[in-house]
Symmetry: C2
Subunit: 432 residues, 2 copies
């Protein structure tokens, strides 16, 4: 290093997909972004294919075939993991970097949701940071918000739209009037959805993110096993339309809420009042709504994915590494982290939207309302609608809040009534 | 300190208004909030009156009559300044604490907007942090967002609703149909506005906050002198109504934007499209909309004031002090901070809303449009409205974007037309 030049911090970047390529370009253009005055340069890189076309020049950097070797290389100061996946080389390389005493920055939500506690223990034992802002909401600083800005508050609940693909599909269904499968095909053609869309559509991507936020918000270890996940499959255009008539929009909401019964961490399609900020986050946007004891209601919205925003979040984490804060990875040292008690289903209360398609004959409504009364489920509103393209008569009920087992019992009984043409469809109505 | 107990950090808290009292209560209840495991306790306090009723028990703490003496006390580790005001004891006490090598946490927006660079230089010379999250948007982490989360991005513009009093007044005018002075009186009676409302209503409070955010966003020193400030005075109910007819809501917007001509830092009443997130932040909410090169559009909304949220922000800064990050106070070391070049008025372009009240006689519209054409100002839309309670005929024009001197010239000429009953009223339309 020449005298007078700023000190240099060398990165090893494993994974050169769109985010990795954007990070390469960002650092080539503005490696001097860190307020500390240090210059951030890439030293070594690693990816599945060296020859792949990525719109970023990687020829100045040392090529590694093995991410674990890159993670351990004495030529790097910070390891950036952009490989993805909870197991395999991503996990091995992150662990290797931490074991070698190197700070790690990762965008890998699956890895942190599944193995966050063990990796945090390793990072803290070696005294190095493990940062993962880019793992949740891409360029929007959800992790920093919950981990740092709300650290002195008691958070009651977090609810977010954390998967841009699902949000795009729901927005498109509403706007174009196309079915779920039509819009999914179109999203795949446009590159907004993967060829195998299970991770997004099944709610697992959003679940990884809410598991991480729940750990930060409630002071526990990330607990993938406690997450209850329902995806978008089976959200009908009919329900999008009927919900709107009732003043709601259907979104895939990932939520974590604390109650006397414990913490519930869940992903499911949810009816949100049309004027709720989360209901207005359209297209590929991500959004997060937090309710805290001191802070009240806070809302943040921004790009949840995309190479530019995600690379900027990775770079912000690198600046944080350079600032040298000594913080536990989660809200307390890993040795003290325990699983937060999960709320039992019977402790969960929700308002429900129940949609039936019934034969157009007398007595149907009476039998449905009698069944609900027998179950002790109280009706809040009722809508019967004539629809040209429907095979029967759609009926929608919304209920007052009730324990979920009561709702499931009522649906099972209603579903058994002889006048039902299709099985009842239940969606939860947000209580935020 | 007994063996086995957590290490203790002692605060000196100067200023025991509603925020100070909320901090006392927060720390008494949860002094263990810091993830570092250290216990935060108040050691000394200081306020104008020792006997004042504040709903918080200050008897356990050492009383100081002089905030400067508290700031220098060897019995405190961190100084918390909640006195307020850019000069006088607040400034002296913050400087004294920094000189004594003590980290400072403050909620004082005026102090940072006026003297941020000098205080940053002092803090950095002593190697201690100076943090001020609570100075901007109360409990909503605007400072952390811009300083840390967007540190690797190139921010183009920031626009915020940063004064809850003004936002409450505008929301109430729209909803109740009452005049500015009626709603102001009501807000004063409810304690939402001060007896002397100049700081809020005049736009100065919002200006302090945007000056701080502009410094963080654009890498300069806070530059109070370059801020252009227009307050709420003179926003008529008539304009709120007419703007709504055109699809806009009037908000007091504090904005900082970078262009080829420099950075413009301004506060003024602004027409926002009704579907813009900032237009939907109602009542006492604060909100911030940021456009960045990599990140795109980001929006955050939350409580902008109030004892609970503000005390939680102060406590979050204390947790950051304990984490020990080594960061410049602004985006680069104070010795390198310079004023960012301010944009000249002729470099500023805006779309304008121009409202006239004219005599109901032939040829008025022709003379107005001829005058605008002579000035080279192009009309985007035109609205003439019959209003029962108006002394003449209200006419509203909106223009295409034009340099501000062109707009002011046109308004002066139109104002001189003999058919004008009142002087023309111009409001800027947001270009976000």
């Amino acid at each position: 290093m020449t005298l007078g030049n700023p000190p240099i911090r060398r990165l090893g970047v494993a994974g050169l997909g769109t985010v990795g390529a954007a990070l390469v370009k960002l650092l080539a253009a503005r490696g001097d972004f860190a307020p500390s005055g240090e210059r951030v340069v890439i030293s070594g890189v690693c990816a599945r294919s060296r020859a792949a076309s990525r719109g970023a020049d990687i020829s100045p950097y040392v090529w590694f075939d093995d991410p674990v070797a890159l993670a351990r290389s004495p030529e790097i100061d910070i390891f950036v993991e952009l490989i993805g996946g909870s197991e395999g080389v991503a996990r091995a390389a992150v662990a290797a970097a931490l074991e070698a005493g190197k700070p790690v920055v990762t965008a890998n939500k699956a890895l942190i949701a599944h193995h966050g506690a063990a990796l945090a223990a390793l990072a803290e034992a070696r005294g190095v940071p493990l940062l993962f802002e880019a793992a949740v909401m891409g360029g929007t600083p959800a992790v920093k918000l919950v981990r740092e800005a709300l650290v002195a508050d008691q958070i009651h609940s977090i609810a977010g739209i954390l998967n841009g693909t699902c949000n795009y599909i729901l927005s498109e269904m509403e706007q174009s009037g196309s079915s779920f499968s039509q819009v999914l095909k179109q999203a795949q053609a446009l590159g907004y959805a993967e060829a195998d869309p299970t991770t997004d559509i099944g709610g697992f991507d959003a679940a990884h993110k809410i598991v991480i936020l729940a750990a930060l918000a409630f002071g526990g270890a990330p607990d993938w096993g406690a997450a209850q996940v329902e995806g978008l499959q089976g959200v009908d255009l009919l329900d999008i339309r009927l919900a709107k008539d009732l003043g709601y929009r259907i979104k895939l909401v990932a939520a974590a809420a604390r109650s006397a019964g414990g913490v519930a961490v869940r992903v499911h399609p949810t009816l949100l009042p049309l004027d709720h900020p989360l209901a207005r986050a359209d297209g590929a946007l991500n959004a997060l709504f937090i309710q805290g004891e001191s802070t009240g209601r806070m809302f943040i919205q921004g790009p949840g994915a995309g190479p530019g925003p995600t690379a900027a979040a990775v770079a912000a984490d690198i600046a944080d590494v350079l600032a040298g804060a000594q913080r536990p990875v989660f809200q307390q040292p890993a040795v003290k982290l325990s699983q937060v008690r999960a709320a039992a289903p019977k402790a969960l209360a929700t308002k429900a939207y129940i949609r039936l398609i019934v034969r157009d004959e007398p007595g149907v409504i009476a039998s449905v309302s009698e069944t609900l009364a027998e179950c002790g489920l109280s009706i809040d509103s009722f809508l019967q609608k004539h629809m040209e393209d429907s095979i029967g008569v759609p009926i929608v009920l919304t209920t007052h809040p009730a324990a979920e087992p009561v709702i499931f019992d009522a649906i099972a009984r209603i579903g058994a009534l002889p006048t039902m043409i299709t099985p009842p469809r239940m969606l939860r109505i947000a209580n935020i």
